[in-house]
Structure formats: C-alpha cells, structure tokens
C-alpha cells in the first residue's frame, strides 16, 4: 500500500507492550504460587 501511512512503529510498540503486560502478569502469578 504505497499511500498508507508509515506508522508501523506504533503497531510494534502496542504489540510489544501487550506481550510485556501479559508476560509480567503470568510471571507474577507463577512466582506468587511458587511462594506458597
């Protein structure tokens, strides 16, 4: 798409942020369970 805006950086930022939030919560649950 030649006339589409060049904003792939915003997409990448959102995808990385989502992965980080989900991974951080998964690790948090795992560590809390391991402490029990």
């Amino acid at each position: 798409m030649a006339d589409a805006p060049h904003n792939a950086g915003y997409m990448a930022a959102a995808y990385v942020a989502t992965a980080l939030i989900l991974l951080a919560y998964a690790v948090s649950l795992y560590r809390r369970a391991a402490r029990r």
Partner: protein
C-alpha cells in the same frame, strides 16, 4: 493435575498461540489503506476490551449469586476475574492511546468511551484495594460483592457510550446488531485473537483462583 497446574499450562498455551496471532496479524493480514499498519493494533485492543468488560460482568454475576448463596467459591472467582480484568484493562489503556496518537493525532481525549473505560479501570483497582483493606473475610466478600455489582452496571453504559454521546472513539464494527464491517481476512484474525484472549482469561483465572484458595487454606491453618 491441580487447578494451578492446569491454569499454568493453559496460560502457556495461550501465550504461544498469541505469538501465532502476532504472525498472522503482522504478516498475513492486509494493511488497511487509510490507517496503515497501526490499524493492526485493533486485533489486540478490541479483544482485550471485550474481555475487560466481560470479566467485570462475570464479577457482577458471581457477586449477585454470592449474596444469595454465600458460597466462598463465588467470591474467590470474582476476585480472580477482577484481577485478570485489571490486567486486560491495562492493555486496553496502553494500546488505545498508541493507536490514537498516530490516527487521531493525540494520545488521549476525554470522550465518553475513553473516560468511562478509564473509570472502569479505577473501579477494578478500587475493588482490589477494598479486598486488601478489609480484614474480616465475611465483610470483605460482602463489600466486594456490592462494588462488583456496581461495576457490572457500568459495562452496558461503556459499550453504548459511542451511541449515546458524540465521541471520537470509533463505533463498534464487530459487536453490533448488524453484520461485522470487516473483510473476511481481517475478521478471521480478530476472531483468532479473541479466542486466544479467551484462553488467556481462563488460564489466568484458574491460576488466580487456585492462589486465592491456597491463601484461605493457609489462613485457616
């Protein structure tokens, strides 16, 4: 296999499948002509938003039934669903402004949809803070149930806010009375992403429920 282990492996499967959704969305789904690649934020933002709302509805339903039956499993589920809903709300409030900055030209606008979603996030935080602040288990469950029901009452307002007010936020293009206004390739990507967010919700709630149960058994012991 314990509930915690089942939840752990469900989450692992969900995270691996999310990687597959990333590949499909970025490589195999067409770029939207007007918004460019940033439109693909939609495949994460909207499923997370739907589960932010559904998680609060489930908190509310569990809370209503809890007030009648006084079954601690319902209170434990509501607590787990609220914590996972908070995480999904954080995704919504992170990805939304990133999309807004490139498409609207601003990170944030105080319109009805954005403001009510932010309010729902604060309500989630308040719910979790309330649970941490009340020592007596019976009172904690009752107070939290009342707040959970209030949160559930907010959800229809959030969903309908784009119809009730003039908002900058786009109107629904999937969850609306008529057929989704998306080409099939984009719709399939969205449906796959929604299915993966569902797996993640289930996996997280199973783990958080098991953690709550272990804490209660520890307190009893």
């Amino acid at each position: 296999m314990t509930l915690a282990r089942k939840g752990h492996w469900t989450t692992v499967v969900g995270l691996v499948l999310l990687g597959g959704v990333y590949v499909r969305a970025v490589v195999f789904t067409p770029v939207e002509r007007l918004q460019g690649p940033a439109q693909k934020i939609f495949y994460l933002h909207v499923p997370a938003a739907v589960w932010t709302e559904l998680a609060m509805v489930l908190v509310g339903v569990a809370s209503v039934v809890f007030l009648f039956l006084k079954d601690p499993r319902l209170d434990r589920f509501a607590e787990a669903s609220a914590e996972v809903g908070t995480v999904f709300a954080a995704i919504v409030l992170t990805t939304g402004p990133i999309w807004g900055k490139t498409v609207w030209g601003t990170w944030w606008a105080w319109d009805a949809r954005l403001t009510s979603t932010l309010f729902l996030f604060f309500l989630y935080i308040g719910y979790l803070l309330l649970r941490g602040a009340v020592g007596d288990a019976g009172a904690r469950a009752r107070y939290a149930a009342v707040l959970g029901i209030c949160g559930m009452a907010l959800v229809p307002f959030i969903h309908l806010s784009v119809y009730l007010f003039r908002t900058l936020h786009p109107q629904p293009i999937i969850l609306k009375p008529s057929a989704p206004s998306l080409p099939p390739s984009m719709l399939v990507t969205w449906l796959l992403s929604f299915a993966v967010f569902t797996v993640l919700y289930v996996g997280f709630v199973m783990q958080r429920y098991a953690l709550g149960r272990a804490r209660e058994e520890g307190d009893d012991g």
